[in-house]
Structures are given as structure tokens and as C-alpha cells.
């Protein structure tokens, strides 16, 4: 066992040697980075980038940066998915395909990890940052600086994960790294350590965000907005962040213990030495199952806002929606064992968890019916967010029924670890989580940028995603029933899998078209931004507070903080031809920019990298640096800047003048 070895730890030349496919990946990533740097330098935008974006504490900007990073990760992990699909369509019989089995292992591990932690979580935190302060009528989150630290820790984790492509290799132990496979004995390379530390760093960022948004929701709401008047998106974020705070500490502990096994030779999860690998599986799912609800709840919340807005009706069953959210929060801690029915728990225990799993489907069903009743007799506007929603209802219901099927332990004994399971969870996570966030991005885009996205391209994108999804994943349900296991890079010809795998591969191509359309949509919309300009600030005939201010929303959101009497305050205001009541403008403070979030994340990256490669000096440097940065920040008395009447936007001034 090597704790620390020399200045460079375990790092040596062989860490930089890769096979051809990895080299192409590294080259593509490296060249794009260099290209981006050159462009920014050429356009002399560094200063702008630094002062307007990287050091900003404005949650709308932080949210956008989250989404930017998440989209990059979506493309990267989507490429992984394409490679896997290609491999499985051709690797039959004598043909070994183009990926070695060890490389294939790394790809599905990287795909799952990247998608969950950096694509889905990134989209989620991005939209929460953008949406929550606006929807509760606040100028900011409770702890703006902490928010920036969270974001940059997320970025540090992301960079660490991608560093594994160039320096060393990534884990091949799957997205949850079950021991004993992930123990040093069976995974002696640094791959699992990369997995551990990128999750650890990003996870701590998520935990801090969880605390931040709970306090924001409890303390920063507009006057008069009691809990039962909060928009449904805010409720769903409240539920999701509660789960973050309850579940993420378990993840922190679990992967720390795995690291201690690997680094210090402890025996938590080792097969020998008095360790207990099953304990890892229990712990990781005690976090992992809540995690899927962490991702889905805010997406549900977005759909609730969108369905009400685009149907021009009040959300049906508000109270039951709130109850459903909290039922899900509670129940999501009582079902984790359904991920390992086959691992020897006995029929009574399996029976209990099977029933609990079916019970948790009930609140979700309540929500689906509420949305449908909201649409019933509404004047529905089928813009692209609604197309995503319709796709979601269809595919999510299919996936949900498959899930209830899997909750029956005897059925699960047949289908566990098969592609049926893969199809099930992608149904939930692509049509639920991704579609929800795509719809949310389209919905709030004008509030952030001041112009809407070109809807017709968005509709094409949505249709490509939905049809592509059906092609890519319905074959997997069938393949699963035929006995195809997951994580399989090669199969024999007489199994008859190949045609279905080819169809699934085509499906990914169609999804690729959808992704292309989404990127195209953004470019076209930027070019046509004059035509698409949102002059009123209320492009969808909205219901909640954020549509009462101009687009793009100013840094401080609301020049005068709103007061709330109704659930759909802005809608009610519009009905009574609301006139501005007289209100005196008062100066207020917003936080100044800070670069310390960046610094702390850089140091956290150093800590992670040092822990992976056993580099003692770098490790100490990182830890001490972080301490100093925190102390330095707490010494700083001068973190706010004042916004006076002169700083307001033209439009806010006019409104204030009109009301005075």
C-alpha cells in the first residue's frame, strides 16, 4: 500500500498513454478548450467574462452557467451513449466491435455518472437558481456567496471527472461503483478514485445548495406569500432540497468510506477482513433512491407551472399536489431495497419494499391526474413546452407502469439487471427529468434574455426527442424480456438481439437530431432576437410574479418588492386591470461580485486531484488554502453594494414615476 510517494505521488508518464479512441476524445476536448480560449482572447472578452459572469453572485447568471455546463455534459454523455449503441449494434458473433470490454466499462460508468451528476443535476440547479428567487418575489437567494461556491464546486467536480480522460483513466465499476469490484483489489487503477472525488466535490456543492434554497424559500418570500400561496415550482423545490439535505450526507459518508478502504486499507466493504459489501449497496441506495426524486420533483414543479400557464387555467388540485410532494419526500426513504431484491433479503423484506414501491406510485399518479384535469376544458396553447409535457405524460406513464411491474419481487428476479430495467429508468429520467428541464428552459428563456426561443424549431426538437426516445428504448424493453443483460459489450449471433439493437441505435440518431435542433434553435433565436423580442415581459400570459417585471429581468429582479394576496397573483392583477399602488422607492443592497468561489473550487480540485494521485503536498496546499479563503471571506466587511434610484433600469424608473 502506497500512502504517499514522492512529489508527484503515483503520477507518472504511463498515466498519459491511451488507446486511439481515448486520444481522439482528449484531442477533441483539448482542441475545443483551446479554440474557446483563442476566441475569447481574440474578442478581448476576458475582462467581461470575469466581471460579468465568473465572479457574479446574481443567481440568474449562476443559473445560466449551470445550464451551460450541464448542456456540455449532456452532449458529452450523449456521445458516450451513441458509442455504446453503435458498439452493441455491430458487436455480434465474430465482430468484436470497436470498443474493448474495459473501455466499454468505462464508457457506461462515465455516461451514467456524468448524466446524473453533471447533466441532470446541473440543469436542475440552474433552473432552481433562475426560478426560485423570481417566483417568490425576492431579489436574491439567502446566501449569495455560498451559492457561487456551490456552483464552482460543481464545476470543479465536472473538470475532475473529465480530467480522467486525459490523465489516468475513469472507473469501470458502473455509475454506483459497487464493491468488492470497486475495491483496490479488483480496481487497482485510479479510476474509482476519480469517481469518488468528483462526486464528493460536486456533492458537497449540492448539499450547500440544498441548505441555501431551503432558507431562501423559508425566509425570502414576498410579503403575504404564505406557504400555501407559493407557486407549485417552489413547493417542489422545497421538497427536493429537503431530500438533498437528508440524503446527500449519506452519499458523502459512503464514498468517503470507500476511499478509506482504498487509500488506508480499511475494511468497510472489502470481501475479507470483516468488511461488508452489502452495507455499501444499502447505503448507496439510501441516498440513490431519494436522488431520483430530487431530480424529478423540480421537473414536476416546472410542468405544474407550464400546464397552468399554457392552459390558461388555475392549477387543478393545488393542495393535493402539495401533499403528493411531501408524501413522495417521505416515502422515497422507504423503498431503497427495490434496487436489490435479488441480493438475499428474504421474502418478507422483499414483500415490504415491493409494496412500499407500489405505494409511492400513488402520489405520482395523483399529480398526473391533476395536470390532466388542469388541461381539461382549458384553452391550450401547444407551444414547445406543452409538446414536451405531452411526451412526458405518455412516456413517463409507460415507464411508471414498467416500474410498478419491477416492484413485484418475483418479476424483478427475472428482469433485474436486464435491459428492461435500463429502459424503465431512462423512461423516467429522460422523459421526466430531461423533458421537464427542456420545457423549463424554453419557458423562462425570455425572462433571462429578453427574447423568446423560436417555437417552431423547438417543436421539431421535442418531436425528435419523443420519437427518438420511442425508437431507442422500446426495443430495450423487448430485449430485456428476451434476456439481454445490461452492461454487455458483445453477444452471440443466435440470440437474435441484433435487429432490435440496430433499431435502438437508429433511435439515438433521431435523438441526436433533436439535440441538433435544440442547438439550432438557440442560434436562430439569437440571430432573430429583434423579431422574437419580449416587449411586455409577459410572453405566455403568465400567472406568477416573475412575469410582472420586464424582460430581461434586472440584476435585482424587483425594484420594489411585490406583495401577494393570491396564489396566481399576477394573473389576478391582470384581471382587475391592476394599477400600481403608491409606493416609495427605497435604496437596497445587492451583493458585490466575488472571485473567492472560483478560488475555493480550484483548491477543492487540487484536493481531489491530490487524493486521487496520493500527492501529499498538493493535498495540504488545497486544504490550507480553503481554510484561508474562508477566513479571508469572513473578515471582509464590504460585501454589498447599494442600488439607488439612478441604478434602476429605464423601465423600472418609468413605472415608479408613474406610480408616484
Amino acid at each position: 500500500m502506497i500512502y504517499f510517494a514522492g512529489i508527484l505521488g503515483l503520477l507518472n508518464v504511463s498515466a498519459f498513454k491511451h488507446d486511439i479512441i481515448q486520444n481522439v476524445g482528449v484531442a477533441v476536448m483539448g482542441l475545443s478548450a483551446i479554440f474557446a480560449i483563442l476566441i475569447i482572447t481574440y474578442m478581448k472578452k476576458w475582462k467581461w467574462l470575469f466581471t460579468e459572469w465568473l465572479t457574479s453572485l446574481d443567481p440568474k447568471k449562476i443559473g445560466l452557467m449551470y445550464i451551460f455546463v450541464a448542456v456540455l455534459m449532456l452532449l458529452k454523455a450523449g456521445t458516450d451513449a451513441g458509442m455504446m449503441r453503435l458498439q452493441q449494434s455491430i458487436s455480434v458473433g465474430n465482430n468484436q466491435g470497436f470498443l474493448s470490454s474495459s473501455h466499454y466499462q468505462q464508457i457506461f460508468s462515465a455516461h451514467g455518472t456524468t448524466m446524473i451528476f453533471f447533466a441532470a443535476m446541473g440543469l436542475m440547479f440552474g433552473l432552481i437558481n433562475i426560478g426560485v428567487p423570481l417566483l417568490i418575489g425576492a431579489r436574491d437567494v439567502a446566501f449569495p456567496f455560498l451559492n457561487s461556491v456551490s456552483f464552482w464546486l460543481f464545476v470543479a467536480g465536472m473538470i475532475l471527472l473529465n480530467t480522467s480522460l486525459a490523465v489516468g483513466e475513469f472507473s469501470g465499476a458502473g455509475w454506483l461503483a459497487y464493491p468488492p469490484l470497486s475495491e483496490l483489489q479488483f480496481s487497482p487503477s485510479v479510476g474509482v478514485d476519480y469517481w469518488i472525488w468528483s462526486l464528493q466535490i460536486a456533492g458537497i456543492g449540492s448539499l450547500l445548495s440544498g441548505i441555501n434554497f431551503i432558507v431562501t424559500i423559508l425566509k425570502n418570500r414576498a410579503k403575504g406569500m404564505n406557504l400555501m400561496k407559493m407557486p407549485m415550482f417552489v413547493w417542489s423545490v422545497f421538497g427536493s432540497m429537503t431530500l438533498v439535505v437528508l440524503a446527500f450526507p449519506i452519499l458523502t459518508v459512503t464514498i468517503t468510506l470507500l476511499y478509506l478502504d482504498r487509500f488506508l486499507g480499511m475494511h468497510f466493504f472489502t470481501a475479507g477482513g470483516g468488511g461488508n459489501p452489502m452495507m455499501y449497496v444499502n447505503l448507496i441506495w439510501a441516498w440513490g433512491h431519494p436522488e431520483v426524486y430530487i431530480l424529478i420533483l423540480p421537473a414536476f414543479g416546472i410542468f405544474s407551472e407550464i400546464v397552468a400557464t399554457f392552459s390558461k387555467k388555475r392549477l387543478f388540485g393545488y393542495t393535493s399536489m402539495v401533499w403528493a410532494i411531501w408524501a413522495i419526500v417521505l416515502l422515497s426513504f422507504t423503498v431503497w431495497l427495490h434496487h436489490f431484491f435479488t441480493m438475499g433479503s428474504g421474502s418478507d423484506v422483499n414483500g415490504f419494499f415491493g409494496i412500499m414501491t407500489m405505494v409511492i406510485a400513488i402520489p405520482t399518479g395523483v399529480k398526473i391526474f391533476n395536470w390532466i384535469f388542469t388541461m381539461y376544458r382549458g384553452r391550450i396553447n401547444f407551444s414547445s413546452p406543452m409538446i414536451y409535457f405531452m411526451g412526458f405524460i405518455l412516456l413517463f406513464s409507460i415507464g411508471g407502469v414498467a416500474g410498478v411491474l419491477l416492484a413485484v419481487p418475483p418479476v424483478d428476479f427475472q428482469l433485474n439487471n436486464s435491459l428492461f430495467l435500463v429502459a424503465h429508468f431512462h423512461s423516467m429520467i429522460v422523459s421526466g427529468v430531461l423533458f421537464g428541464y427542456f420545457a423549463g428552459i424554453t419557458y423562462w428563456f425570455p425572462k433571462i434574455f429578453g427574447f423568446t426561443l423560436k417555437d417552431i424549431i423547438g417543436k421539431y426538437a421535442a418531436y425528435f426527442w419523443i420519437i427518438g426516445f420511442i425508437f431507442a428504448f422500446v426495443p430495450l424493453y423487448i430485449l430485456g424480456i428476451m434476456g439481454a443483460t445490461r452492461r454487455m459489450n458483445h453477444y452471440s449471433n443466435d440470440l437474435g438481439f441484433q435487429p432490435l439493437f440496430i433499431v435502438a441505435g437508429l433511435g439515438v440518431g433521431i435523438i441526436g437530431l433533436g439535440l441538433f435542433m435544440q442547438v439550432l434553435q438557440i442560434f436562430v433565436s439569437i440571430i432573430k432576437r429583434k423579431q422574437l423580442q419580449d416587449k411586455t415581459g409577459d410572453p405566455w400570459n403568465g400567472r406568477t410574479l416573475e412575469w410582472s417585471i420586464k424582460s430581461p429581468a434586472p440584476e435585482y429582479n424587483y425594484a420594489i418588492l411585490p406583495e401577494v394576496k393570491y396564489r396566481d397573483q399576477f394573473w389576478e392583477d391582470k384581471q382587475i386591470r391592476y394599477k400600481m399602488t403608491k409606493k416609495q422607492f427605497k435604496n437596497f443592497n445587492v451583493p458585490k461580485n466575488s472571485y473567492l468561489g472560483l478560488v475555493i473550487a480550484f483548491l477543492a480540485f487540487c484536493v481531489g486531484f491530490a487524493a486521487i494521485w496520493h500527492i501529499l503536498l498538493l493535498f495540504i496546499f488545497g486544504i490550507v488554502g480553503i481554510l484561508i479563503a474562508i477566513i479571508y471571506r469572513s473578515l471582509d466587511e464590504n460585501t454589498l453594494k447599494m442600488i439607488t434610484f439612478d441604478d434602476l433600469t429605464q423601465e423600472d424608473k418609468l413605472r415608479l414615476k408613474g406610480s408616484n
Binding site: A142, M266, G275
Partner: protein, 197 residues
């Protein structure tokens, strides 16, 4: 000296308190997970020693009393701060720091003794979980010590202000919390280990 510092909370500081309480709760879950791990592994001695033969009750009791006393003295800093008596605050802080440091010293000494006598964390699942659970508590204590040093520096430089009193209050929460965790460690690890449960 007699004038009392206005302790009326501003909106900002109630946010900080709420945020800190939630943080403490997440830390609770962290320790709960470690306790659960210990509960699962504590009989997996892998042919090595068990808690019954390794732990000395008087030693653990001494550690407990020291930490409890430090919790008491740290509470006294708040009383002194209410009376705006910064000298007393620093005195009680110094004593708390000393007691906390002594506790940490005893813990490290115990760890060292175990390792020297061939009972390191590499021996068994039981010892891995023991070192990790108790060590995580010790890590928190070390952070508390650093925090105390910074607070004393602040109070020394700026005197008692709203900001320093807020820091002091938060620190107290943290320190009492570590005390409670230690009571659990004492009961679950040392007491139950002693009777061989």
C-alpha cells in the same frame, strides 16, 4: 461596562441561524450513518481484538468529563458576551480551547496506543469503523479549535460586536452538538463495547 448589547435579531442573522441549524442536521445524518456502519461492523473483529479488551473505561470517562466541562465553559462565554464583558469572554474561550485541545490530545494518544499495539484500522472491519467514527468526531473538534482561535482573534481586534456575538453563538451550537455526538459515542462505542454488546 454595564450596557447590554442589543441582541435583537436582524433578518440577515435569522437566516444564518436557520441555515446553520440545517447544516447541523446534515451533520447529524452524517454521524448517524457512521453509527449505523459501526453497528453493523462492530462484531466483525476478523480474529483481532474486540472493544471489550481494547477500551479502557476510566480513560473514556475522563475524555467525556473534559468535553462536557468544555461545553459548559463555552456556554459561559455567551453569558459574558451578553454582559458585554469581552475579557471574560476571552477567558472562558481560552479555557474551552484548552479543554478541547486536551480532549483531542487524549484521543490522538489513544489512537496512537492502539496502532502501536497492533490494533490499527487495517486489522478488521470493527477497527476501521471505530477509527472512522471517533476520528470524524475528532476532526470536527479540530475544526472547532481553529474556529475558536479565529473568534478570539476577532474579539481581540474588534471587541464584541453583533458580528462576533453571532459567531460566538453559532460556535456554541456547534460545540454543544459535538458534545451530544460524543455522548452517543461514549454510550454506543465505549459503554456497550465494555459490556460486550
Amino acid at each position: 461596562m454595564a450596557e447590554n448589547i442589543d441582541l435583537v435579531e436582524t433578518a440577515e442573522s435569522t437566516k444564518t441561524y436557520l441555515g446553520f441549524w440545517i447544516y447541523i442536521m446534515t451533520d447529524c445524518i452524517l454521524f448517524a450513518s457512521l453509527f449505523a456502519v459501526y453497528a453493523v461492523l462492530h462484531n466483525n473483529t476478523n480474529g483481532g481484538h474486540s472493544g471489550q479488551t481494547l477500551f479502557s473505561m476510566p480513560y473514556a470517562l475522563a475524555e467525556t468529563l473534559i468535553l462536557l466541562t468544555s461545553s459548559f465553559t463555552s456556554g459561559l462565554t455567551i453569558l459574558a458576551a451578553r454582559r458585554n464583558n469581552s475579557k471574560k469572554v476571552m477567558l472562558w474561550m481560552a479555557i474551552t480551547f484548552f479543554l478541547g485541545g486536551l480532549f483531542l490530545f487524549l484521543e490522538v494518544k489513544e489512537f496512537n496506543h492502539l496502532i502501536q499495539t497492533g490494533n490499527s484500522w487495517r486489522v478488521s472491519g470493527f477497527l476501521s469503523s471505530y477509527f472512522t467514527l471517533v476520528g470524524t468526531h475528532g476532526l470536527h473538534i479540530s475544526i472547532g479549535l481553529i474556529w475558536m482561535a479565529i473568534l478570539v482573534f476577532f474579539i481581540f481586534r474588534n471587541g464584541l460586536s453583533k458580528k462576533t456575538i453571532k459567531g460566538l453563538t453559532l460556535f456554541n451550537l456547534f460545540w454543544h452538538f459535538l458534545d451530544v455526538i460524543w455522548i452517543f459515542i461514549f454510550s454506543v462505542v465505549y459503554l456497550m463495547g465494555h459490556v460486550g454488546l
